[in-house]
């Protein structure tokens, strides 16, 4: 059990010490100053080459208990938590997010996005990850309907590989529904890493060379393949039916043996203090890994959490570990990216498939609620330190300014420099638009 008051004191103290540490000694963070400057220059030069880190709040994080508190609402709505002031004047957030409260100047908080799929997690995932509605289907496999690609897959298709690293990586968990490429095909599916980044023996299945094989043997196998694969040699002479097979073998080998990739996965290169700051749990370490992957060349990293479906004991569970964990890794990531100048070309998105009901159910829980939601954007091209839209007194619906999921998707595509008016064919040849006439949320764009 955390003691709220003690917690705040300890963490406030911690921040100031850490700031001191950071200013005094950049090299502790694995970078010297020239490197840092070089990176910044690079980021400026490639202003369009925007990365994205998606922090996915699977299950649907409670908006009213985090970033849209309603202290004046009746107690059966406002719940147990108290608001605290943030570093953005006039904005208060949940008392269990004290570190994040100090990062609100780096966040554009959007309360105007609303959709209608409160019933089904998977269909709601589709809404939020593609903009498009989807038939409810608990297996995530609706019959006879088009599955649209998620943002990461679109980035992969539109922008491709960089530095020998795949464009789209999903960290933690089982990969939430609809994180894949849908009609675009498996080629654009994410590389999903299930291993626990907090495990001291963390290694990435299929990407790290099996211990029983090792690098030398892998090289011998490649020679053997060259001796055996006459077909491939034939195909390499002209455009043949083997398609990009050879390219994938090259990419795979590149990835398996890439020092950049290998290094990106080596979290122990990071100073212990920074690893502590992110949090010594798989989500904290995954956020740190996300930053390292983006630095190494991955364009879109999704870090998935899946513990927000608080139908029972919402308050007990949120304040237990969930909000404190979130507070730790979210604030650490923003701080760290800003510190490294990476926030200039890295979009950070915090969101889930829907918000939760403002009213509290009989099990002290909150249920799914899609009409109101809270989404946070930071970084590249985002108008940070702003709040877009507001919800009504009870946090039930947006008041006035309201945006559809297509508007939201158009915003993400705009920020990532992707032309979302494009049309693609589904496998059965039907032309569909990447985005259905959404308008980017002007208030969120710098």
């Amino acid at each position: 059990m955390l003691n709220v008051t003690m917690d705040q004191t300890r963490l406030c103290d911690g921040i100031s010490r850490r700031n001191l540490l950071r200013v005094g000694s950049l090299s502790l963070l694995g970078l010297n100053l020239p490197q840092l400057l070089a990176r910044r220059a690079q980021a400026g030069a490639a202003a369009k080459d925007v990365n994205c880190i998606l922090l996915w709040m699977g299950g649907g994080a409670s908006n009213i208990d985090t970033f849209d508190m309603k202290p004046d609402a009746p107690s059966e709505i406002r719940g147990e938590f108290q608001p605290i002031a943030s570093n953005l004047p006039g904005l208060s957030v949940c008392e269990h997010l004290p570190l994040t409260a100090q990062q609100m100047d780096k966040i554009c908080l959007i309360r105007s996005v609303s959709h209608t799929e409160s019933g089904d997690h998977t269909a709601a995932h589709h809404y939020m990850l593609s903009g498009y509605a989807q038939r409810p289907d608990p297996t995530g496999q609706p019959a006879n309907s088009v599955i649209y690609p998620s943002y990461g897959s679109v980035v992969g298709r539109e922008l491709g590989w960089r530095n020998g690293l795949p464009p789209y990586v999903v960290l933690t968990g089982e990969a939430a529904p609809y994180t894949g490429a849908g009609y675009m095909g498996s080629e654009y599916n994410p590389l999903t890493i299930k291993a626990d980044a907090n495990d001291p023996k963390f290694s990435v299945e299929d990407v790290s060379i099996p211990q029983s094989v090792g690098l030398d043997r892998l090289q011998r196998r490649r020679s053997m393949l060259a001796a055996v694969d006459g077909w491939q040699r034939q195909a390499d002479k002209g455009a043949g039916v083997l398609g990009d097979r050879n390219q994938f073998y090259r990419q795979a080998l590149e990835l398996i043996t890439s020092p950049a990739a290998k290094r990106a996965f080596q979290l122990d290169e990071e100073p212990a203090a920074l690893r502590d700051r992110y949090g010594r749990h798989r989500f904290g370490q995954s956020c740190l890994l996300a930053r390292r992957l983006v630095e190494a060349g991955v364009r879109f990293v999704s870090v998935e959490t899946n513990w927000w479906d608080t139908h029972q004991n919402n308050f007990r569970d949120l304040k237990g570990t969930r909000l404190p964990n979130l507070d730790q890794f979210y604030s650490a990531l923003l701080e760290d990216l800003a510190q490294r100048g990476l926030l200039d070309n890295t979009l950070v998105v915090w969101m889930g498939e829907f918000g939760r009901t403002p009213w509290i159910n009989g099990s002290a829980g909150r249920d799914h609620w899609a009409p109101s939601n809270a989404i946070c954007l930071s970084g590249a091209g985002v108008k940070m330190g702003t709040v877009v839209g507001q919800t009504d007194r009870k946090c039930e619906r947006p008041l006035g300014l309201t945006h559809s999921t297509h508007d939201f998707a158009a915003t993400i595509y705009r920020l990532l420099g992707i032309d979302c008016t494009k049309e693609y064919p589904t496998p059965d040849g039907r032309p569909v638009l990447l985005n259905y006439h959404g308008k980017p949320i002007a208030e969120a764009l710098a």
Binding site: N144, E187, W231, A235, V241, A252, L253, P427, D428, H437
Partner: protein, 742 residues
């Protein structure tokens, strides 16, 4: 143009436009100028009809396209029906909606539709035509003449007549199409400037919006023509070469005769006959989804029987693996899944299906059983058909796509943009299923309650636009009188009739596609008239043969496999016929997920352990498509949610390559202490013997002398013989020759 002069009717302005634009084109392509004199617009304005003249203007200008006002939501407040399928609604939208401000009969030039179209006011869709265009004049005159609307008695388009292009075209040649529209009242008119043109292969032939074809490359393309709900397609054939003395090619059956005929037209020569090894591997995989075992392969290769190929085909058609493999295909197609059937229902359906295939039920019997199924799912397997799809609309779509090769989904909401089918056809087909009633206790799984189908006394389907009750009707026909007891019997009779234009053709084309990797119509489940077959005569002949043999599926497979065309060698990088459209060679394709996994296990000499299945269950024999398998998922096993064959993905990707080449799981198979390498080592064979056996197991052939030497050298260089041999097995499994069916 002589054609135009012959049409004895006072023409609308459309004709004038044609005369004008066609004469301009005629000059550029050397066609004689038209003899019909252009008449002044005013003189013929009486004849302007909304459907006949105004809608084509809107269609040709793109106003009612799906991306513009033809979208379901409309654009900028104006919604038109997609490509003008609903003239009454379009008339209403233009004349009555928005307080009539879109049209201005007193001063047509001031009307919003014209000012938007020429962009004298802002228009999100930009300028569509010029103020001096014929399109402009038609709309202006239509308004000036009191805006005549569509009438119930208006004729509709009966058919389109398009210049035929029997003659092969040459590279760079241009050709102007002429399109004549024949109306239901017998009148006819030239519609060349107003129809929509599209080429299905710009690489071969491009077509301009005026219907001018320009030949770009060798091969075959279809140029489709669409006008007021009717469609037509013109094949364009461009030879690869002019072969003066086409050689007399060997043939085995009528398939070869018809294939050779096409090669002659195209100036293509086929590859040679596949070797015995290549043939054996191919036919084993195609018919039984299973690699040949080393010993049976050796005896086939050693046999000198001249009929050994035919005998092998017959043998494979009677294998238990044949049933496994084809049951998998049909279950994919029918989307059998525990999510809709429950475990018990899935078992009931699968065992019925396997029995039907084991007994070689003819296709009509299988389909009739499915369409007319009733009773309890747990006793009657085919009842599953009515639990996979549960609404009349979904059942209509599945029936059309799976049994007839027709994609009707478009016609749910509007006239099919690439076919002749209307919403009446769609809901008319759905109406056959309106009386299906299901008892579904919602409990699924092994102990699920009753799940049964019966035919109720009542039940109707209504047209979503008009709200009218739609009576059952088979596609393209006027309403049929259905069986009073069970309308589905009428439907099943029509589907499985020997004269049904789609049923046998659909199955023949699918099976051809399964064996050859590409349908005669491609995609293999899209038999619309705007997607014509590559070999029309061959598809017709095979269909006739299949019907004559009473829809015998094994006969169909046997006929195809015995053709020389099926037995041609494969080419990895062909110079001609690169996409394999003319079947001059075998075009390799990646093994489907289940076959690949089985092939790896068989080659490595290990068994897969699937959840809830006995160890050693093969992937092609899994009845539950949701049985957990990372391998099957990443290699594109279909989820059985779509009736489209495209759901099975076969393109390579990084995740697959990582798994195949670098996973602990694959490595464990190679190094399994009971696996093939371990067994061969224990059997004290020498390197050459082991290398030969591994090649036979994996690639169904012996290594070449060069391969044998190179591989042996690498094995010797490895730290241990075991490691070297495992690495050879790794390389064989990762080679393209293994992963591809060829």
């Amino acid at each position: 143009m002589v054609l135009l002069a012959r049409i004895g009717r006072v023409f609308s302005v459309a004709l004038i436009a044609l005369a004008m634009s066609a004469s301009a084109l005629a000059q550029s392509v050397g066609v004689p100028p038209p003899t019909a004199a252009a008449q002044p617009v005013e003189a013929v304005a009486q004849s302007i009809g909304f459907t006949r003249d105004v809608i084509p203007v809107l269609t040709k200008a793109g106003c009612n396209a799906g991306a513009c006002h033809g979208s379901f939501q409309g654009r900028g407040g104006l919604r038109l029906s997609l490509l003008g399928f609903d003239p009454a609604a379009d008339y209403n939208a233009l004349v009555r909606e928005a307080h009539g401000r879109r049209v201005f009969p007193a001063a047509p030039e001031q009307s919003l539709i014209l000012r938007k179209a020429v962009m004298t006011v802002p228009h999100g869709g930009n300028k569509r035509f010029a103020a001096d265009s014929t399109s402009y004049r038609i709309l202006r005159e239509w308004m000036a003449r009191g805006m005549p609307g569509p009438q119930a008695a208006d004729p509709h388009v009966a058919r389109l007549e398009v210049t035929s292009l029997e003659r092969p075209l040459q590279l760079g040649e241009q050709m102007q199409l002429q399109v004549r529209v024949v109306w239901s009242d017998g009148s006819a008119q030239d519609a060349t400037p107003w129809v929509l043109y599209e080429s299905n292969s710009d690489r071969v032939a491009q077509v301009s919006s005026a219907g001018l074809i320009t030949v770009r490359g060798a091969g075959r393309a279809a140029v489709t023509v669409r006008h007021l709900g009717q469609v037509a397609a013109v094949p364009v054939t461009v030879p690869y070469a002019a072969l003066a003395d086409f050689p007399a090619l060997p043939r085995q059956n009528f398939i070869d005769d018809l294939a050779i005929e096409e090669w002659k037209k195209l100036g293509l020569l086929p590859a040679g006959l596949a070797t015995d090894s290549e043939f054996a591997r191919r036919v084993h995989l195609d018919l039984s989804g299973t690699l040949p075992q080393v010993d049976e392969l050796r005896s086939f290769l050693d046999s000198s029987d001249p009929d050994k190929r035919s005998k092998l085909i017959d043998k494979l058609l009677d294998r238990p693996e044949f049933v496994d493999f084809w049951a998998l295909k049909w279950a994919d197609l029918l989307r059998a899944h525990r999510r809709s059937l429950g475990d018990k229902g899935l078992r009931s359906f699968t065992s019925w299906l396997r029995q039907a295939l084991r007994d070689n039920w003819p296709a009509d019997k299988i389909v009739r059983a499915l369409v007319t199924a009733k009773g309890n799912l747990y006793n009657e397997g085919p009842v599953a058909f009515y639990f996979v799809d549960r609404t009349p609309e979904d059942l209509a779509e599945t029936t059309a796509q799976v049994f007839l090769g027709l994609r009707m989904q478009c016609a749910k909401c509007h006239h099919h943009p690439f076919d002749v089918f209307s919403q009446d056809d769609y809901y008319g087909l759905a109406a056959f299923f309106a009386r299906v009633q299901r008892k579904d206790t919602k409990e699924s799984g092994a102990f699920g309650g009753a799940q049964s189908i019966r035919i109720g006394a009542t039940g109707t389907v209504t047209h979503p636009g008009t709200g009218q009750v739609i009576t059952p009707r088979t596609l393209g026909s006027v309403a049929e009188v259905p069986d009073a007891n069970d309308p589905r019997v009428t439907l099943a009779n029509w589907i499985t009739s020997r004269d049904n234009p789609y049923f046998a053709r659909n199955i023949v084309n699918r099976y051809w596609g399964y064996l050859f990797g590409r349908g005669l119509v491609d995609p293999i489940d899209d038999l619309r008239p705007t997607n014509p077959p590559s070999h029309p005569a061959l598809l017709d002949a095979l269909t006739r043969d299949f019907v004559q043999h009473n829809f015998d599926l094994k006969h169909l497979l046997r006929t195809m496999c015995n053709s020389r065309t099926y037995q041609l060698a494969s080419e990895v990088a062909p110079e001609r016929d690169a996409d394999g459209m003319f079947f001059t060679h075998r075009r390799p394709r990646r093994l489907p997920a289940e076959i690949l996994l089985d092939a790896i296990n068989q080659t490595a000499g290990v068994d897969e352990a699937f959840e809830n299945s006995p160890k050693g269950t093969r992937a092609i024999a899994l009845s539950d498509p949701s049985a957990a398998s990372y391998f099957l998922d990443i290699f594109g096993r279909p989820r059985r949610t779509s009736t489209c064959e495209c759901e099975r993905r076969s393109q390579p990707d990084l995740i697959q390559v990582l798994h195949l080449s670098n996973s602990e799981k694959m490595h464990a198979k190679l190094a399994d202490p009971a696996g093939r390498v371990a067994r061969l080592l224990a059997a004290n064979q020498n390197d050459t013997q082991i290398i030969d056996e591994l090649y036979m197991a994996a690639l169904s052939r012996l290594p070449t002398a060069e391969e044998r030497t190179n591989v042996a050298r690498l094995i010797t260089a490895a730290p241990s013989r075991k490691e070297g041999l495992e690495d050879l097995l790794w390389a064989l499994i990762n080679s393209a020759e293994f992963v591809f069916l060829h």
